[in-house]
Symmetry: C2
Subunit: 459 residues, 2 copies
């Protein structure tokens, strides 16, 4: 083992290679409860550093596990089989903002909110907004094809990736894509690498598409006595040709948690609340759209709809949505947040099944998420010191996935597969898909050194 670590030191410089116990612990976590120690952590500064690391890893057949800020929720950045934890956080520069073509080139370790701030300075807008955007890096976002509330209107991370610089398993540097928006020149490697969770190559830079920053925004909150009515409102808004920036759902359990934690005066006798936001460059149009959405919510059975009149009221309406996750801590010491996606029409039935699962296992499950694109986050509240509860959670997760699959949905809309969802992959995608994916993995990483044991279950 010391031989390959020495080779790493020779390749990138000893100061970038850490293997003290305390350093290894620092790189042994992600956003889940799991912990796995790497043999060594490496902190590259350049694409060439990364290529040098992969060259050593390839020579000695050592796993390389790329990570950004390790906020992932599926175990994807944990060094499951030891080896090298490759942290890209020192590669965090914004390299070029091209105002005319509305593009930006960033290193993979840039924190997403920093990128957003940087381009906002010149009136540009990077729309994807994972809730973790103050912690997570753009490289991690790309690795998981992260989404967020705004993705209903604007699309997910992958929709903004025009090109990638990738270190492949043979240490070659691949550049995909370019500034042209349309590009049908060979296979769409960019899209193949987006969402591949570090198993096909290591992203070091990304060329991202930007849009003009919307100048106006309006927000409304609608309360529904019936969850079905809320779901119907979501469909009716979209069918009317309104494309809200966000269309967020909270179920009664979520509302109760927030209210207990924050005392915002939320109604405790409704089954669901929606938060709708419209935005754009035309003030009157944005106002008319939110009013049309509000009207449709009322027509679909909303008991009350409030459109924020100013930024303060808007802030008030959002406070509830943003309080969901923090408020859960008061209910139980731990939570496990899942990430199923569904055909929109299946949302009410999915929530009902999740409620039934919760009742059967006697553990609270809070449901909220991005109703407009059918992406729900059921959060199971529990105490992980209690082995019986831990076991229940495992079974609950399985049942939630089963419900999603039965309803034509799937395992993840934003978080990815990592190791956590491996047992459900075959059922989710089928064996023909797994075979094809494994063939691609073998073709691009024949030694299986790039984040081994993730995304694809062992045959």
């Amino acid at each position: 083992m010391t031989e390959w670590i020495q080779a790493l030191r020779d390749a990138v410089g000893a100061e970038k290679v850490l293997d003290s116990p305390v350093d290894l612990i620092a790189y042994s976590f992600d956003g889940t409860f799991e912990q796995v120690l790497p043999d060594v952590a490496v902190l590259p500064k350049t694409t060439e550093d990364v290529a040098a690391v992969v060259k050593v890893a390839a020579k000695y057949t050592v796993p390389v596990v790329p990570r950004g800020m390790a906020s992932g929720l599926a175990g994807g950045s944990l060094p499951a089989r030891g080896g090298i934890a490759l942290s890209l956080t020192r590669m965090n520069r914004v390299l070029e903002i091209d105002r005319e073509n509305m593009t930006v080139v960033v290193e993979a370790g840039v924190v997403t909110a920093d990128l957003e701030k940087e381009v906002a300075k010149v009136g540009l807008f990077y729309p994807p907004d994972p809730s973790s955007n103050r912690q997570s890096t753009i490289g991690g976002n790309i690795a998981c094809n992260a989404g967020g509330p705004r993705c209903l209107k604007y699309g997910v991370t992958g929709d903004y990736v025009l090109g990638l610089t990738i270190v492949l398993a043979d240490a070659k540097i691949l550049k995909t894509g370019g500034k042209p928006i349309k590009n049908v020149v060979g296979y769409d490697l960019t899209s193949l690498f987006v969402g591949s969770e570090g198993t096909l190559g290591i992203f070091t830079q990304a060329l991202l598409r930007l849009v003009a920053a919307p100048k106006f925004v309006r927000t409304a909150r609608a309360e529904f006595a019936s969850l079905d009515d809320a779901a119907r409102a979501v469909n009716a808004v979209l069918a009317a040709g309104i494309v809200p920036a966000t269309l967020e759902l909270m179920d009664e359990t979520a509302i109760a948690c927030i209210e207990e934690a924050m005392g915002l005066g939320l109604p405790l006798d409704v089954e669901a609340m929606l938060i709708v936001e419209t935005d754009g460059s035309d003030a009157e149009g944005v106002v008319r759209e939110i009013e049309a959405a509000a009207r449709i919510c009322r027509e679909s059975g909303a008991r009350q709809v409030r459109v924020a009149r100013d930024e303060e009221e808007r802030e008030g309406l959002w406070r509830a949505r943003r309080s969901v996750s923090p408020s859960l801590i008061r209910q139980a010491p731990n939570k496990l947040g899942e990430d199923i996606t569904l055909p929109r029409s299946a949302i009410p039935e999915a929530v009902r099944r999740i409620k039934a699962i919760s009742a059967r296992y006697d553990l609270p499950i809070v449901v909220f998420g991005h109703a407009g694109d059918g992406n729900l986050h059921p959060n199971i509240l529990f105490d992980r010191r209690d082995p019986a509860q831990r076991e229940k959670v495992e079974q609950i997760v399985g049942e939630i996935f089963q419900a999603a699959l039965d309803l034509g949905g799937t395992l993840s809309g934003e978080h990815g597969i990592g190791t956590f969802k491996l047992p459900f992959m075959r059922q989710a995608v089928g064996s023909a898909s797994l075979d094809a994916q494994r063939a691609i993995k073998r073709a691009l990483d024949p030694q299986n050194i790039l984040n081994p044991g993730k995304v694809l279950p062992e045959p």
Copy 2:
């Protein structure tokens, strides 16, 4: 040879297998000047038929070349190495329209305009609008990731593909994706197959995303004495946060051709015209957007801007754009339409270089295209009966591609690579990319039976 053809007849029924000389000629053309005879043409009716054909092809190592209506412009559907011309035109059913989830399931052989009409009946909208949409099939559109004028606002074909049914090279049937809009469950196989031009698998069905049909549309035409001003106007409109449905450019050569053919009263003393169209569900917003776009065009130096006041005037404004291709026939017996894409900012310089190439070779090149997304169609006018002109055209195409690559652009935005652009692939994407693409091709089609000789040049 007769043995494998007999095996095909046994597999799918003799009535689906054609090998008379006249039938073979019918399946020997595409939208280019080239002609290559297949050994046999097969007309499957079902996914299982396609799988049966591929099984025979795999057993006897015979090329299978899928084709829709064969309107492609890069040679992609020509049976370059003989074998089986697999025409999917009999698989042309719309199988399911899901109004609530706004999706449609179609067979690959549906003509795109028919699909558009079918979903319009229930108020839904399939946006991608390749100019060939009355001839071309959705399967072909997906194989080339086709675009069109509306793709500026709405995105290209691939942005609407939620899932595919694909027959793989081993005759297994792969289903990718599903109705959930967000999906981060393993590698994005759907995107990998989109644009793969039949070289990785044969699409038999597609699950497509739809949107609500825009209720209102407004159109403007702006005339620019200076091409640079027109290009500046394009950028200024987008920078203002306006997202027109279309933003089309015609250069002076295109305008002159149309005027000579149609006598529409177009100005012959301008360098460029733009056609801008806004659409949406909010009548006033659509009007305000077109007016804002018109104002920006004027501020950017447009000599005249006309906003159509009614459908008749709108039709009049579009007549010019739609007349480009037909009008070219009056200028020369043949045309070769190219399909370069550029960073938007490079459009003026690209047009200047194309003009210089045209002057140098003394052959007219008409330039028009989708300026908003940087996709230009330089059309070279010539007489292919003249070998000297044919040779010039070949050189001109090479120089146009070189100009596009030099300016940060690339070879194709809509048409694909086929065989025509093979010689430019290495320079366009680099050898690391070619190696990765070849590895993927080998992994999924180790016998190289699926549309061999396309997309990827021989090593």
